[in-house]
Symmetry: C2
Subunit: 296 residues, 2 copies
């Protein structure tokens, strides 16, 4: 494939956003877009460029006192009749236009056009943000090359309608299961219905009052939600198992262990298995580049 | 295929059961077994034999005062590592051994060995009992050839551990749906969780006290159960739809319309769509052959 990220496109963040959108990169299929981005970055003499899987890292090494990370994920959620991109008037539509190829485009535009930034800059274009954390490029880099992440301040260019959202909530997924006894539905009194038993799990979720906490001047609103439910064997069988997948978003003052303990407290009496977790991140707004960024 | 239902096999109900089990006939795949059964019946000069789809009907026409139907379905539920059959000691294992090829074997054995029954007899070997009622051979025959079903008494040879179960409950399936508003689970307060909303549906099911009613001396226990539940979009999305499939088994003193009205009353305030229904059947124990059958 010829690289669509030509010098002309790289000079124009809007054209660059569209070109990035038009390289299909649903999670776990980021090779093509990572190849294009890597090729661009390796051509820039002011950057040192490395790759890990489908994550590309490029950094300046100008000896500045402080270092800033600009990061964006290359992957998108699954396509939904929105590929390639289209224009309607001034607006661009397409898979990943907002989340987050526009952010990736800005970082890549700066990487190309800003050879002498005021702080040293590390650019990170990473894979698999939209799926389970074990695939996440930032997680994989943190294991394999933690030094790539060293910085005084980091900006993740996720879409926020222009607001600064400091820090990051943690996320945990767990499966809460209810069990019963199978029976023919014509003799339902011989069985125990696991789906009916799930009613209490949903009642607790509906009654749950999510905590709000203010850290470093930023309010975090937690959330606990059923994101999937599944149960049933056949149209004439009393089901013996029902699973509710719960997603808990927790403020960064809780560790993953504390988050799990809280989940287990909420669902006391039920089987619960944690299936996915990513820790939160404190806002860190006291760093000099952060203060300057907020003042701007 | 050579017909495994040889005269020797037909003379022995146990061998016949096993031979029938070993002709795979999961619902909608009854052609092979219906072919074998039809071939046997057409070879008997004391029977008049017809076929409709994969349902085979054979009857005596001896001019008796009363007529009895013996009926059994040819299909089974899906295989589950239980095909072909196996023996362990005295016991036969295999898909459909109990429900209901043993019953089919007895009816077929009688059809072959009883040329002069006391009442005229109609044998019905029918397709697709284990799935939605629109495929059911008895239903299809009732539409196309209702005269095949005319009788004073009918015995369906379903497994009941030797008990007589008179009449038949009706069955209705309906999908109760809850709706909400999608949002990212990190901003759950922007959405409305349809799975949480399903909690109230499950609460009503759990609190439901099923009616018991005595008809013609027989007690019918109704039942209302969730048999399937499904909801969710992705691990990080507040779901906007959850569907609960409910199976209502209703005593034969309710019509399907009354059963539906009752379902709608139980789930007042929720979207409900009936997806499947089969009416009940009154016991009819006052017919002479019925009295004799019960006395035996």
């Amino acid at each position: 494939m010829e690289n669509p990220l030509t010098p002309e496109v790289l000079a124009d963040p809007v054209a660059l956003t569209r070109a990035l959108v038009d390289i299909e990169s649903v999670s776990l299929n980021e090779k093509a877009i990572a190849d294009c981005v890597e090729q661009v970055l390796r051509g820039l003499p002011h950057l040192i460029t490395h790759r890990h899987g489908n994550t590309v890292m490029a950094r300046t090494d100008l000896g500045r006192d402080q270092r800033v990370v600009l990061a964006g994920h290359l992957d998108t959620v699954p396509l939904n009749n929105n590929f390639p991109s289209t224009l309607r008037g001034d607006l661009m539509y397409g898979c990943g236009t907002s989340d987050m190829k526009s952010g990736v485009a800005y970082a890549l535009h700066l990487a190309v056009t800003l050879p002498q930034p005021r702080y040293d800059v590390t650019y990170l274009f990473y894979e698999a943000e939209e799926i389970e954390s074990k695939y996440n490029g930032l997680f994989l880099v943190s294991e394999a090359h933690p030094e790539w992440l060293a910085a005084d301040f980091a900006v993740l260019l996720e879409p926020t309608y222009g607001l600064v959202e400091a820090g990051c909530q943690g996320t945990m997924r767990a499966v809460v299961a209810t069990t019963g006894v199978r029976a023919h539905s014509a003799r339902s009194w011989h069985g125990v219905n696991a789906i009916h038993g799930a009613g209490e799990v949903l009642r607790r979720l509906q009654a749950y009052e999510a905590r709000r906490v203010t850290l470093d001047g930023c309010e975090y609103r937690e959330g606990m939600n059923a994101v999937r439910i599944h149960g049933g064997v056949a149209g004439n069988v009393i089901p013996d198992r029902c699973e509710i997948e719960v997603n808990y978003r927790f403020a960064p003052d809780r560790t993953p262990a504390e988050a799990e303990a809280h989940l287990r407290e909420v669902f006391a009496g039920f089987d619960l298995a944690v299936t996915d977790v990513a820790a939160g991140a404190a806002p860190g707004l006291d760093a000099a580049p952060a203060k300057e960024f907020l003042a701007a």
